[in-house]
């Protein structure tokens, strides 16, 4: 560290700090004077990686027109805001079960009349169907989608002329071959329960069964669910989870002691051939090794290549609470964010996939191999995002990959589900 420049910059910093304080003060004063006519709305977006991106977008929105002034809210955890009857006017959040319980209870307003809804890609309906909506409403507008599959080290595959497996048996052969070569087949980070659940568990189950159908059946049974019902987790998940345990054995020896950060570092350094993480890991990996030659393929869980699917989730979806007093203004901001040039640019920068029928395909070389699956709708949403988080599913999966009993775990899960179904 250069102490000379440090000494120089300190007084400068202080001076510029005072100047900026004064500037904000003046701005605040002037804004009180002139901006009374503008309707203020609150925009909530809390995905940490893209907060600066959206802050900049909001700035553009606020200066692009003179009627609405949006402020950026980044608080995560909306339960409290809804409980206080004070939710943001426009939300832009990850769409998962947590979000779904707001829509199910009618806390979100109907967006079915939005022109943007007509632009949804054909596969979107399937994604929204996983969660129950309030009768007669379409409560969210998808904004961005993440695709996740097996990340693999292309260099290792090329060097040993290994091909991408499309059947479960080929996957096992591949893992065996890699082990024989002295290469760790899969880098696992089981210390962080969520990595076991969103990676290995979600891929194993999603690649083997129809998750939408499973949860639709469960909803049909509703509060009558018992561990003896016609559809249960024990019946549906036993096979895929036994396979998952088989695959977990091909992990690095110290998988149980390793966390997400360790995994990104190790995979970036080529310490394993495969890594079961989503695209969010790619920027982290690039920090260590910007030239990492990474590709993706869906985890094959059956003997039929037509069953190959990739895991997706609606990383961001827009919604407007029923309680908002500024629905019209919120819709203005929504329309601004949904302009193709803005929405597409976001997806490109955040490694997302478009959710509109006119979205361009991804340009990122690391994600390209997933595009055909998305275009043909061969996708599923992770089972971990469909189970209410009051059931510690992540912990259950962590227990399984570290050797727990599938039978017992699924019996517990069935019992949990029955209790939950009875009280809600």
């Amino acid at each position: 560290m250069n102490f000379g420049s440090e000494g120089l910059s300190r007084p400068l910093k202080r001076r510029s700090f005072i100047a900026s304080m004064l500037a904000t003060g003046t701005l605040a004063l002037t804004s009180c004077g002139t901006d009374d006519a503008r309707a203020g709305i609150r925009f909530n977006q809390s995905k940490p990686e893209v907060i600066p991106y959206f802050r900049e977008l909001l700035g553009r929105f606020n200066s692009s027109q003179g009627t609405v002034k949006a402020t950026h809210e980044v608080t995560a955890g909306l339960s409290a805001a809804f409980a206080r009857n004070d939710p943001p006017d426009l939300g832009c959040l990850n769409y998962n079960f947590e979000m779904a319980r707001f829509q199910e209870r009618g806390a979100l307003s109907d967006l079915s009349d939005l022109p943007q809804q007509k632009m949804n890609a054909p596969f979107i309906k399937q994604l929204l169907d996983l969660y129950p909506d309030y009768p007669g409403r379409t409560s969210v507008l998808p904004y961005s989608m993440m695709g996740a599959a097996v990340l693999y080290n292309k260099d290792i595959f090329e060097k040993h002329s290994l091909s991408i497996p499309t059947r479960y048996s080929e996957l096992l052969d591949l893992c065996g071959e890699l082990s024989d070569l002295g290469i760790t087949p899969i880098y696992s980070t089981f210390k962080d329960a969520w990595t076991a659940s969103q990676g290995l568990a979600d891929y194993s189950i999603g690649g083997a069964i129809d998750i939408n159908q499973h949860f639709a059946d469960l909803r049909e049974i509703g509060s009558d669910f018992t561990p003896d019902s016609s559809v249960t987790f024990s019946k549906a998940f036993t096979d895929p989870l036994l396979k998952m345990q088989e695959l977990a054995k091909f992990s690095n020896n110290d998988a149980a002691n390793r966390g997400y950060g360790d995994g990104n570092l190790a995979f970036a350094n080529g310490q394993a051939a495969m890594y079961l993480q989503g695209p969010w890991a790619l920027p982290e990996i690039a920090k260590t090794n910007p030239d990492a030659n990474i590709g993706t393929f869906p985890l094959p869980m059956t003997e039929d290549p037509r069953d190959l699917k990739i895991r997706v989730n609606l990383d961001l979806a827009l919604w407007i609470p029923e309680q908002s007093d500024h629905k019209a203004e919120a819709r203005e901001l929504l329309a601004f964010l949904c302009q193709p040039e803005i929405q597409n640019a976001y997806n490109e920068s955040a490694l997302g996939f478009g959710v509109r029928s006119d979205s361009p395909p991804t340009k990122d070389p690391r994600l390209k191999q997933m595009q055909p699956y998305i275009d043909t709708g061969r996708i599923y949403q992770g089972v971990s995002t469909a189970i209410p988080r009051t059931i510690p599913f992540e912990n259950y999966m962590q227990g399984l990959v570290t050797g727990g009993s599938v039978e017992q775990t699924l019996a517990t899960l069935d019992a949990d589900w029955a209790r939950l179904a009875q009280r809600s």
Binding site: K191, N257, P392, N395
Partner: protein, 308 residues
């Protein structure tokens, strides 16, 4: 506890009051002036939300929107839920083991640090350090030690049981939480013991050593009986604190491996964050009653100590 303390001055009223009534009233107003802000804050921040929470435990609320009163259904479900029962048995077992370990070590350290040894004050300072570091920081540091440092050491020296992390061992992960919690809790228990030990008149030791008692004999027959009140308080306070274990567990195992180390506080918190609001409010109410019983026990013990 805090609620019952204002009741104490009752016993004073029997005594003859030397101050004239007018002045006394002014005094009372002053005292009330001290109490009222705290009382208002306590009511708004603790009593009212707690009462609301207890009310919601009899509903099916998810934390927002409409709800129905469903009577004791949440409580009935609670007592048959293996996840809840598992959390209670883990937490109570953990609290018992940790409180015993903490007090045994804290007592021995206190005895050592009140003896005539060199660098006593410096050593005391060092031993008190864990108390000033926040639990989550301690937990993350130990997490690193358990998952990286110890396995590396085990690998290097070929020590088998160190090679895999204690945190990922389903049968022993709880031990790591005991160790870290004890490490964090020992200083405060030790300080109470040091205070107690310094209050023991030196004559007693002198007399007993004239009677030919050994150091161990003095510890067992002089120190321990005189310290029994402090031990009781320390154990009850410690037990109550360990029942609320949260930050250390989140930083170490986050309830894992599997659900082996989920504490009561963790299950309650998932309810608030994850849409099982009313149900976990019922859990919180049960937990509150248990804590209340322990607090009353503690209060009785302290009062008895004062009466002597």
């Amino acid at each position: 506890m805090t609620l019952t303390s204002p009741a104490k001055p009752r016993s004073d009223s029997k005594r003859p009051m030397p101050t004239p009534p007018a002045k006394r009233r002014r005094f009372e107003a002053t005292y009330l002036g001290f109490l009222v802000p705290a009382l208002i804050c306590f009511t708004i921040a603790i009593t009212v939300p707690a009462a609301m929470g207890i009310f919601f435990s009899f509903t099916d609320s998810v934390g927002f929107g409409d709800y129905n009163l469903i009577g004791l259904a949440n409580y009935a479900a609670l007592f048959t839920d293996p996840a809840i029962i598992g959390a209670y048995s883990f937490t109570i077992g953990f609290a018992l083991v940790t409180v015993l370990l903490t007090n045994a070590l804290a007592f021995l350290l206190a005895v050592g640090l009140t003896a005539q040894i060199r660098a006593r004050v410096a050593l005391r300072t060092i031993f008190v350090m864990p108390m000033v570091i926040s639990g989550i920081v301690i937990a993350y540091v130990f997490n690193f030690l358990f998952s990286n440092t110890l396995p590396t050491v085990g690998e290097y020296f070929g020590i088998e049981f160190l090679k895999s992390s204690l945190l990922s061992n389903p049968d022993l992960a709880w031990l790591s939480i005991v160790i870290v919690s004890a490490w964090q809790a020992i200083p405060s228990a030790m300080l109470i013991y040091i205070a107690g030990l310094m209050a023991i008149p030196y004559d007693l030791y002198e007399a007993s050593s004239l009677d030919g008692a050994s150091a161990l004999g003095q510890l067992v027959h002089v120190t321990l009986p005189l310290m029994i009140g402090y031990i009781g308080i320390n154990i009850i306070i410690g037990f109550k604190n360990f029942l609320g274990a949260y930050d250390v567990i989140v930083g170490l195992t986050n309830g894992g491996p599997g659900v082996k180390t989920r504490s009561i506080a963790m299950t309650i918190f998932t309810g608030f964050e994850r849409g099982d609001y009313a149900y976990q409010m019922a859990n919180a109410t049960v937990f509150f009653i248990i804590s209340l019983i322990i607090a009353l026990l503690q209060l009785r013990l302290t009062n008895r100590g004062q009466a002597k």
